[in-house]
């Protein structure tokens, strides 16, 4: 068993800094590279892509990235774990195999984890009395059944561990929890059992800390952003994990950014619910047990994490079509910029009324004035410019389209010194809403395959 392993985060979301994983591989010694590509909304986008083309449905950026790093991965025996497989890990692996062959790597072992897609089983589940009630509203899924796009179970670390045991150097998963990607190598390398709840919880905390990439190492840092060094070359986080469950979070020497108690705390509270019950498929972690210590510059030690037995459920993320939205923006200049924007808002609302258009919601904000903090914003006397941000949501696409036309016409029919419409009419966007639910673990099994 290794004394410790180094797990590097290479991507906090699909669209994160492209060269971050490359820097992680070249910047110093690492054993694992983990990359998170999947937000909830990403799954439904990928599902639509797969419906158009059965060879799609995964995070395509992984291919050019692998082209860049594959020689170094093989050379240094670095393992990669990523959920880039999206709704089609099989096609993702196929594309990677083709790339590897082109580059002359014939012995690459790639594991996939799938089976998280329960879309084909939905009707069977519903008729068996599994109602998949909404976790907040408690309504049964039946209500939106006809409008579903995708339904994916969040698996945890265990199936990833299985692929590692079968010798995979690269693991491509579908919907696996972000935290599970980081926990898996610890379970595998240190032989943790499924009952080592404190250790598992510690691994989950490590996963939570690095799942958003540089957001723990100086990015989006409120306490002291002005003094973060070299954000253009910000170092992505690395977990130095030990068999006891304790770990240190750090980053490569010579990179920008900062890791201290404050950056770590800000990330710990990010998207946090009840801190005593951070629920994952493998364990319930207690964030109030976490002890932090700055052991050296850019190194924070994490100890004391406690965990308890997990629930008998997997979380399921279900997406469905829920009408249309359109948001238009127009910029008004000094003088009286806010008054002009307010006038334009009134005109649009009057027009929508005259045209008898019905929407579920019409919403106005003034960017530069109150878009972020709403009624808490302080007044700004005589601003140089104000952006009118007005949007509608409704179930009728043609009415939402009519709204878009009304916005555009304001350029010539409304208040003066207006600009910022260069990108053309605001296009209606389909709303893909989410339906979080729970599914008994025994009803679904992850599928693991290594080739």
């Amino acid at each position: 068993m290794k004394n410790f392993i180094r797990i590097a985060a290479g991507q906090g979301f699909w669209g994160d800094r492209f060269d971050a994983p490359i820097k992680q591989i070249h910047g110093g010694s690492i054993d694992y590279l983990v990359m998170d590509y999947l937000a909830e909304v990403t799954m439904s986008i990928l599902q639509k892509q797969k419906m158009r083309d059965p060879q799609q449905g995964y995070a395509r950026d992984i291919i050019p990235l692998m082209e860049e790093i594959l020689p170094e991965l093989v050379n240094k025996d670095i393992k990669v774990i990523t959920n880039a497989g999206g709704v089609n890990p099989i096609a993702c692996r196929q594309a990677l195999f083709e790339l590897a062959l082109r580059m002359g790597f014939n012995n690459l072992k790639i594991g996939i984890v799938y089976g998280d897609d329960i879309m084909p089983d939905i009707d069977q589940l519903l008729s068996a009395g599994i109602e998949l009630r909404h976790m907040d509203s408690n309504e049964p899924l039946e209500k939106v059944r006809s409008k579903l796009y995708s339904a994916n179970v969040y698996f945890g670390a265990q199936p990833v561990v299985e692929t590692l045991r079968q010798g995979a150097q690269i693991v491509i998963t579908g919907r696996v929890t972000d935290t599970g990607l980081t926990l898996a190598p610890m379970i595998y390398e240190f032989n943790w059992s499924e009952h080592d709840y404190h250790k598992l919880a510690s691994g989950i905390v490590a996963g939570h800390l690095i799942e958003c990439g540089a957001q723990v190492s100086g990015g989006n840092f409120l306490a002291d952003w002005q003094n973060i060094p070299d954000m253009a070359h910000i170092g992505f986080p690395i977990i130095e994990a030990y068999p006891s469950g304790e770990f240190t979070i750090t980053k490569h020497e010579g990179t920008g950014g900062l890791i201290d108690l404050r950056t770590v705390k800000e990330q710990l509270v990010y998207e946090l619910g009840n801190p005593r019950e951070y629920i994952t498929p493998e364990v319930i972690a207690d964030f109030t047990s976490i002890q932090l210590e700055q052991e050296a510059k850019n190194r924070v030690r994490v100890t004391g994490v406690k965990g308890k037995k997990p629930t008998p459920y997997y979380k399921v993320s279900i997406s469905y079509s829920d009408g249309w939205i359109s948001v238009g923006k127009l910029t008004y200049a000094w003088p009286h910029a806010l008054e002009k924007a307010k006038k334009a808002d009134q005109i649009i609302r009057q027009r929508l009324k005259d045209l008898k258009l019905k929407f579920d919601e019409i919403h106005t904000e003034f960017i530069g004035i109150n878009a972020c903090h709403g009624p808490l914003s302080h007044p700004i006397p005589d601003p140089n410019e104000v952006v009118l941000h007005i949007g509608v949501r409704g179930s009728n696409l043609s009415q939402v389209e009519q709204f878009s036309r009304e916005i555009t016409s304001l350029v010539l029919c409304g208040p003066p010194t207006v600009t910022g419409f260069g990108s053309g009419r605001s296009r209606p966007k389909e709303v893909v809403a989410f339906w979080p639910a729970l599914l008994p673990k025994k009803l679904v099994r992850p599928v693991v395959d290594v080739q």
Binding site: D136, T288, S289, E361, H363, A371, G391, V432
Partner: protein, 125 residues
């Protein structure tokens, strides 16, 4: 004396469906009991009137000198449905830290806040 919370704490906000979480972290351990005492769910709900349309839940993390708040029904339906510019409530951390709080004189002196003219300490007009 009155100060804005941003002088005493930092934090971060994020979304889960139509709920925003704001984690408020005291800069110093001695601020934590004070923040715990004054930042009641009722006060936070009042502060976010017009934004938070549901209940406010509060959780304590004394190990981080932090309080975590869940502001329910605050995102116009949630990430993909909302018409808000700040669809995920990413900026609500500093909306929280705008709050003005009254610090008893003896604490203000003890914490060295009395003579310090912080650039953040601008009163809302």
């Amino acid at each position: 004396m009155k100060v804005q919370l941003i002088n005493l704490a930092h934090g971060r906000s994020g979304d889960k469906g139509d709920t925003v979480n704001v984690g408020i972290i005291a800069y110093k351990p001695e601020y934590y009991p004070f923040l715990k005492r004054i930042l009641t769910p009722a006060r936070v709900k009042h502060h976010f009137r017009g934004i938070c349309k549901g209940k406010v839940e509060r959780f304590e993390l004394p190990n981080l000198w932090a309080l975590n708040f869940l502001l329910h029904k605050s995102l116009g339906g949630g990430g993909t449905q909302t018409l808000r510019h700040d669809a995920q409530g990413k900026t609500l951390s500093t909306a929280f830290l705008r709050m003005e709080v009254e610090i008893p004189d003896h604490l203000a002196v003890k914490w060295g806040l009395v003579d310090e003219k912080s650039k953040h300490r601008r009163k809302r007009k």
